[in-house]
Symmetry: C2
């Protein structure tokens, strides 16, 4: 039986900076940002099916967009939960069993099919792999007054993006067993004690949260 | 006697990604990036004088540019040293004594006069202040194989930009007494045991290192 690869695209964010996910419907280069995101997975040959997780408020709008775009691989558009990890969990349930699953932020429309393929390849070998880029700014730790407490050694630090790719059974187990708040899926798999590998991300693959990011997306997609 | 505020703009970088600082002469919106950077300090009312530190190779080009742009506040264009901190030290020497000094990356042309003023105000109170922005990506630590060893608690972490502003005497002492390699001036002042405050940076104020960053600068400056 051949390997089945799928994707969960999480666009349920209620982030203040994302105005409850509305920014995902901003039209850039003639197409809503969210359509650009899904299109990258639709175009990735190895991906068999896609689930889109969206906020209750945007469910109708999200479904309409998937229909208008006529995406063949989108098998389900479902609502998420209060935290990002709850939304991913909803997506995994809606997706059903497969071999590898890529979890991607709906707000990263600049991902390219090639990066998705690289992630699948890395996760095929290791079970869990995330795209990373070097940090360009110095990172410091601050206290509650805003004063600096420490400068971190940047040489060992990376910024983590999505798509994060996992063996489906491993990610499902992580979501079952890890209850605490996490910032990404890799952190859950790390909490299980399973090693998480890294693969090359891209500076282009930004998460669109601010007006500045939206300008960058405009510049890239036009 | 009134307070004297000055700036050292460091453009001596031999960074591979900056092609030895040549990218600073890329023309964006009709003006080399480095001219945009210096113009922000020229336009900042509180700034009295500016020193530009540049690589040996680009010295003639840098001097010509400052003349063409007719910047009134640029009192010196000098060459730097092997490390960024050596270049800042050359700049401090060329600048001579003053009350407050802002150290800025030549490769951050999107800084605005208002941010420089905010920095001067913060450093006037505390002696040392740096602009920071929240991190948008999750930060993880990796080992030499590229496997993830730890996810950092992002809530206490910030990305540090420039201009970093200091009392001149404090920064000079830091450069005299701290010999190790550092990533920024604040780290030297931290090493002296002096507290470093933070002020609000801007997502717009990116360091131009990659082709992506150059596109962003184009988008902003046009």
């Amino acid at each position: 039986m051949s390997e089945v690869c799928a994707a969960v695209i999480v666009a349920a964010g209620a982030g203040v900076r994302m105005r409850g996910g509305d920014k995902l419907f901003s039209v850039v280069a003639g197409r809503p940002l969210l359509a650009h995101t899904v299109a990258a997975f639709e175009s990735c040959q190895e991906i068999d099916r896609v689930v889109l997780v969206i906020s209750e408020k945007n469910l109708g709008r999200g479904k309409s967009l998937m229909n208008e775009e006529n995406f063949k691989k989108v098998v389900n558009v479902c609502t998420g939960g209060p935290r990002r990890q709850d939304s991913v969990n909803c997506g995994l349930a809606a997706l059903g069993p497969c071999d590898l699953v890529a979890v991607h932020d709906g707000g990263r429309p600049l991902v390219r099919p090639g990066m998705i393929s690289r992630g699948l390849e890395a996760a095929r070998k290791t079970g869990a792999a995330v795209p990373v880029v070097p940090l360009s700014d110095t990172i410091k730790e601050i206290d509650e007054t805003g004063a600096i407490t420490r400068t971190l050694d940047r040489s060992r630090l990376v910024a983590v993006q999505t798509p994060q790719v996992f063996r489906y059974d491993l990610l499902l187990r992580a979501h079952d067993e890890v209850a605490g708040d996490v910032t990404d899926d890799a952190a859950m798999v790390e909490a299980l004690g399973h090693s998480v590998a890294t693969f090359e991300g891209s500076n282009r693959n930004v998460k669109i949260t601010t007006a500045e990011d939206l300008m960058l997306a405009e510049a890239y997609l036009h």
